[in-house]
């Protein structure tokens, strides 16, 4: 697990074994609890103001740095994807695409405001403009199958827009995700901006969606009972709910600034002029 810029252990007796395709034991993984989630939200909330206040340019530089660090540890990422069941060729492609996506969204950090922001024509003597602003703390249940590319594709647009995230990693394929956390840790990403919990969706989803200090929830699985649970819980404090269903993580449709806009709120300012 990764939270608040540290790698804490789970509570005693809370772990689950991870096996490869043939059933050989790989590692024991922390089984995150609701308390781990609670602590992660506290860490995220603490990090939010600082991250959102950074200049867009600076956030972009940090995202580029993530991509550079991924490049440097690509072999490890590929090896772990293979352990999780990918073919070497597919693993190579997944790692390279993931790096490209980080670079892609890094470029958008100081541009999406111009594209989505607007000066509005109004009939009174006001200068009226609308700008996207980050939503806040976003909880994310990451895709279960594409452990690296799916994870990167889901969270990078969210943090590119100045939000902070608490993510549940893929339950059965957490290896590459956890290495990605180490990459984040050494890429000038402030502690608490990305917090990752390994564990079971069944146990965590209700807390991910009900916590009052979470401002939006993102999930990726096509599961109607999960969807119902999340939407009902989210109504408690009217969280934003985003259901991301991606058929093909390699298609060009994933390179898309609207993915940033999903977790932005539009703020409109009326500024008196000419009086």
């Amino acid at each position: 697990m990764y939270m608040g810029g540290a790698f804490p252990r789970s509570e005693s007796e809370r772990y689950y074994p991870l096996n490869d395709k043939k059933g050989n034991f790989i590692a024991n993984i922390c089984l995150g609890s609701r308390k781990d989630f609670r602590n992660a939200v506290v860490a995220a909330r603490k990090a939010f103001d600082g991250w959102a206040a950074r200049s867009a340019y600076n956030r972009g530089q940090i995202l580029y740095r993530i991509a550079e660090m991924m490049e440097g540890r690509k072999d490890q990422l590929v090896a772990e994807l293979v352990k999780e069941g990918s073919s070497p060729k597919a693993a190579q492609k997944e790692a390279e695409t993931a790096i490209d996506r980080v670079v892609y969204f890094a470029g958008w950090t100081d541009k999406y405001q111009q594209v989505f922001g607007n000066v509005n024509p109004v009939a009174s003597s006001h200068f009226n403009f609308s700008n996207p602003e980050p939503t806040g703390v976003v909880s994310v249940i990451a895709p279960q199958n594409e452990s690296l590319l799916g994870f990167v594709q889901t969270i990078i647009p969210i943090i590119a827009g100045g939000n902070v995230v608490v993510v549940q990693a893929s339950e059965m394929k957490p290896l590459a995700t956890l290495t990605f956390c180490e990459i984040l840790h050494s890429s000038d990403v402030p502690g608490g901006v990305v917090n990752v919990i390994t564990g079971k969706t069944k146990e965590l989803a209700s807390h991910f969606s009900s916590h009052m200090d979470v401002n939006a929830v993102v999930f990726c699985e096509d599961d109607s009972s999960l969807k119902k649970l999340i939407q009902e819980n989210a109504s408690l404090n009217v969280k934003g709910v985003v259901h991301r269903q991606v058929k093909d993580y390699y298609s060009d449709e994933n390179e898309n600034p609207y993915l940033i806009l999903d977790l932005q709120e539009i703020k409109t300012t009326w500024h008196p002029v000419g009086i």
Partner: protein, 304 residues
């Protein structure tokens, strides 16, 4: 020698404190697990013990009135939430607080005696105390002269507290030791003893303006001083840790210390208080969490 002076011990020979032992005892008590009904009981009890405090240079009558509203109605969205014990303000705002809190049963506490440093002539300190009492303060939080204490001028401290107690009249006197400036636990114990024998109704750790403010070891030493004083004289003195207690978990740990050191008699707002401002909201958030099972956000609780 008269009986009165013989009842007062020689403060040069107060018991010395084993710092390692105190820290170990605190660590041991912190392992207590308080869950479910007992947690709910502790949270509500802690809330009823809070002295909601605003002691800023930028305070205003409006801010004080708002704080008083918070004291009377901590969180009306939930039933069965206790009121806090008192509101603590600077002397200038005593009248405003008193008027706002009228009929609520919540006390007004005022800091006095050149809070927080204590550097003022004795006469002006006494005038300040009388002013606060005239304005309607139910409780006076005085500071001791740490400068004189650290010089070893213990009789000065004794006389100072005794005179302030006299000036208080009917108002309760809390004596702030400012333990963050007393350097050693031995000094904390000695200052506690001096204050109690000189007439304090409460002893209080800190002003909140000096770091470290309230800590658990310091509080334990003061609680033990209160216990020994009770055994000797039969008088129950109150305790108020102040400053730095921000979350419900820490507050409950303090309650455990009180229970284990002084017993259940002290688990009430007449004998134990928390000096805090942010603590109240965290207690409220934990109470609502216990009731609903949903983790809460500060966004949905009024700032005081």
């Amino acid at each position: 020698m008269s009986n009165v002076t013989s009842a007062v011990p020689d403060f040069r020979f107060t018991p010395t404190i084993d710092q390692v032992g105190v820290e170990e005892r605190v660590a041991k008590l912190n392992t207590r697990s308080i869950k479910k009904e007992s947690k709910m009981f502790a949270l509500k009890l802690a809330l009823s013990m809070v002295d909601l405090t605003t002691l800023e240079g930028m305070d205003s009558p409006g801010k004080v009135r708002q704080l008083c509203q918070k004291a009377m109605h901590p969180h009306d969205a939930v039933d069965d939430i206790p009121k806090v014990a008192a509101v603590c303000v600077y002397p200038t705002f005593v009248r405003t607080a008193k008027e706002t809190l009228k009929g609520s049963g919540i006390n007004v506490a005022s800091v006095a005696t050149a809070f927080p440093s204590g550097w003022a002539p004795l006469q002006s300190k006494l005038d300040e105390v009388r002013f606060c009492v005239d304005e309607g303060a139910d409780e006076i939080d005085m500071v001791i002269s740490r400068g004189e204490f650290l010089k070893g001028n213990y009789s000065y401290i004794f006389d100072e507290v005794a005179q302030v107690k006299e000036a208080c009249g009917p108002a309760h006197l809390k004596v702030i030791l400012e333990t963050g400036e007393l350097q050693t636990l031995d000094n904390v114990r000695r200052a506690s003893d001096i204050s109690m024998y000189a007439g304090a109704d409460f002893i209080k750790t800190s002003t909140g303006k000096v770091s470290p403010a309230a800590t658990q070891p310091v509080t334990l030493v003061m609680l033990e001083a209160i216990r020994d004083y009770y055994y000797k004289t039969g008088k129950k003195i109150g305790m108020k840790p102040a400053g730095g207690i921000r979350d419900a978990k820490t507050a409950i740990r303090y309650l455990v210390m009180v229970k284990e050191t002084l017993g259940a008699d002290w688990l009430n707002p007449d004998l134990f208080r928390f000096g805090a401002s942010t603590l109240a909201n965290d207690l409220l958030m934990q109470i609502v969490k216990q009731q609903t099972g949903v983790y809460q956000s500060i966004d949905y609780f009024s700032k005081d």
